[in-house]
Amino acid sequence: MIDIVAVMQEISDMLDEIEGLNVYNWNTDNISSVPAAVVSLPQDIDYNNTYGGLADTARLEILVLVARNNMRAASKSLAEFISRGNPKSVYDNVDSKYVDYDSADIVTVTKAEPDIFRVSGVDYLGAAFTVNVTSSAGD
């Protein structure tokens, strides 16, 4: 059974390990400083994946934003977050292939989609990471 609050908090805690990243574990529309990561509420949750309703899956998004005033610097900055094998890699810091979770059985970062994102009237270069989470009743 999925505890979304606990899952979002654990993912935020993993992102907090990335040096210099300002992490929000709610759907904020007020970014005080970049680079920033916003862990949003799930886009959808599928309940009852096994009998008894004990296994749920959720799909949520992590939005990573960097300053856009200098596109060359912004691109290099964002590239560190969307790469793998990099200390700032979102994948390496979040995917359950590399980190253990208490609130979920499986956390899979499936893709990153770079784009320009507007938050409270300000344009940022960023990437939306899709994260699939599977939680069961445990042992």
Binding site: N48, T50, Y51, G52, L54, A55, S136
Partner: protein, 134 residues
Amino acid sequence: MAFKHGKATVVTLNGVDYSAFADTTDFDDGVDTHETTTYGRNRKTYLAGLGDGKVSVGGMHSDSVNNPRSLFKPLMAAGTEVQFVYRPEGTGVGKPQSRVNVIVSSYKDSSPVGDVVKWTAELQMTGDLDETPQ
């Protein structure tokens, strides 16, 4: 009269409730038929024979205690006849239940790169089928 959702299903094998790891059960029960058509008939006739059936089950792989792989595979390897219990409406007095001895005839793991590890198994019914309600 009300329809029932499959999410409430309870399934056990050899007394072990593995419902938490299961998401599909096909309880396929049938009876042999033997043709008795003779001259002068316009349609075929049949005689009912022996009953038989198979159960197809499946779900998600887990490393938890009593996970399906650790439950099904040893039984299959040993060829042991064990009881399978299927409760399509869950557990409760008066609710439907099917109980039959089975032999685990196959077990399959599937590991897609983009999805959870899944398992399926086939159970061959052997002997009498008891469908007395709970």
